[in-house]
Amino acid sequence: MNGRPLLAASRITHLYGPTAGCLDVSLEVFPGEILALVGESGSGKTTVLKAISGQLRPSAGQVIYRDGQGRDLDIHGLPEGHRRLLLRTELGFVHQNPSDGLNMAVSAGANIADRLLSGGDRCYGRVRSKALGWLARVEIAQDRLDDRPGHYSGGMLQRLQIARNLVTAPRLVLLDEPTGGLDVSVQARLLDLIRGLAVSLNLAAILVTHDLAVARLLSQRLMVMKGGRVIESGLTDQVLDDPHEPYTQLLVSSTLDA
């Protein structure tokens, strides 16, 4: 094993009343690798993701994140201000529905600049040029900088959300079904973008998806969830080519192209 994990979640359990969101989920993510959580709706993937990002306090379990200075932080033990700061700087969260992750009341440039301004940058020119740069990296036309996101298409919204998250160079990005609801060609473009950024920025990511083809394309390791539990995990190509569990075999065989 090379090095220590960037994030280690141990025995995360969250109960929504009597219904279990997730049960006893443990995972580790190392720098520069992408881990996929796959499973059908209701399998608990999003619950796990929200527990990891600090948005949801799990009923049991611990999430330890190793920050840029090498300190191990218990995400749910942090004071709220520190946790929110972490979520704004070193972590990123890409929501399934882009309008959940964007401020629809301000322009696209303001959306990207948000984290920079929150981080204390008080130079308008510098913030704006960084926003322009990121718009280019996510392949949105520069003249859309001052438009409200309400005028954007679905794929553009998702790319804007990615730019908004990546502007502070987070070390770990959590993606919740980033390609859900997008047309195939738009999806391809977005996946290509994510792949490229992950490589060029050496991102670690946890990707939640129900689409096995997306998981195969983007991730190195895979965990299959069912009923809130992780039933199988391993290398992505190994789990998808040599599934052991019945449910995994069902998932793989049901997919048109995996």
């Binding site: 094993m1 090379n2 090095g3 190392f30 720098p31 520069g32 690798e33 391809a188 473009r189 996946l191 290509d192 792949r195 490589v199 050496n202 195969r216 394309l217 190195q220 390791r221 199988e232 995990s233 391993g234 290398l235 190509d237 190994q238 080519d241 040599d242 052991h244 569990e245 019945p246 075999q249 069902l250 065989s253």
Partner: protein, 334 residues
Amino acid sequence: MGPIRTGDRKPIVPRHESQNLEKRQVEAMNLEIMRRESMRLKYSNNDRPDAGLPCRRPPIVRPAAGNVPSPMGEATEAVPTLAASPSPRLGPGEMVRVGSLSKTFVLHLSGPAILRALEDVSFTVHSGECLAVTGPSGSGKSSLLRCVYGNYLPSSGEILIRDGLGAVSLREAGPRDILGLRLRSLGYVSQFLRVIPRVSALEVVAEPLVARGCPPDIARAEASELLGRLHVPRRLQALPPATFSGGERQRVNLARGLVWPAPILLLDEPTASLDQANKMVVCELIREAKKRGAAVIGVFHDREVLSLVSDAIHDLRPPLPGGPPRPPSGGQED
């Protein structure tokens, strides 16, 4: 970690070659070791390989003059072991050892149906050697390669893979260990090219080099040269392979697998859709790989290619239908 001196290392000596090696050949091999070692060390620093380092890095010190290595079997000095790995269970020159490997699929959706793909397979492959895996259709040849690559989990048995100076047991290896192995030691050319939309053939072939620390422009140059050897013209190189013919895709696949100098190469039907000229190029590439000390395991349907490149043959008999059932070992999950 001081400078790497060739005197400390035992160069990997191919099995069948003369014991009195020319100094030039020794130096070439030591350069190869040096480079592989530096790539391994780069990865072991817990970070992505430093993109600033050129991928063909000259050795840190010159090989000691007049130092002809002793024949295989005698160690001039104690071979230093990798820090965290167990004592190497591979002999010198051995690259892959498969012991009593069995793979059984349990298809829960069909019954469940039990499918015995491999039964009690054992062999060893040495550096500079090409082992051809033969057998009738369905005898598990692809499955064997996939087991060695870590793509399939063996049901029972052992696979030892040479990793630098030590060995890794696939039975004990976790997913990240296997990822490391694939980065450093294992190359794989599958039968099918998985097409990623919007990525050009050149990028597809250059990517393994970039991932191992090569600067992108040098990587692209190497990729382009290799694709050229395989008769993929420049104008095609810039296009995504989605629209390529089967043969063109296979050549992109081959280039991707062969562009970086893997110590162990796994080739699954590398010449399946190729014409005569390209087949010869592939044979040439395999020969070059063997010459630099790589171990090759291949599935070749073409008898000509098989006779040209292989040094040994392992024949897989299909499992006997009425034979003694061997229960699969417990699930090899992580």
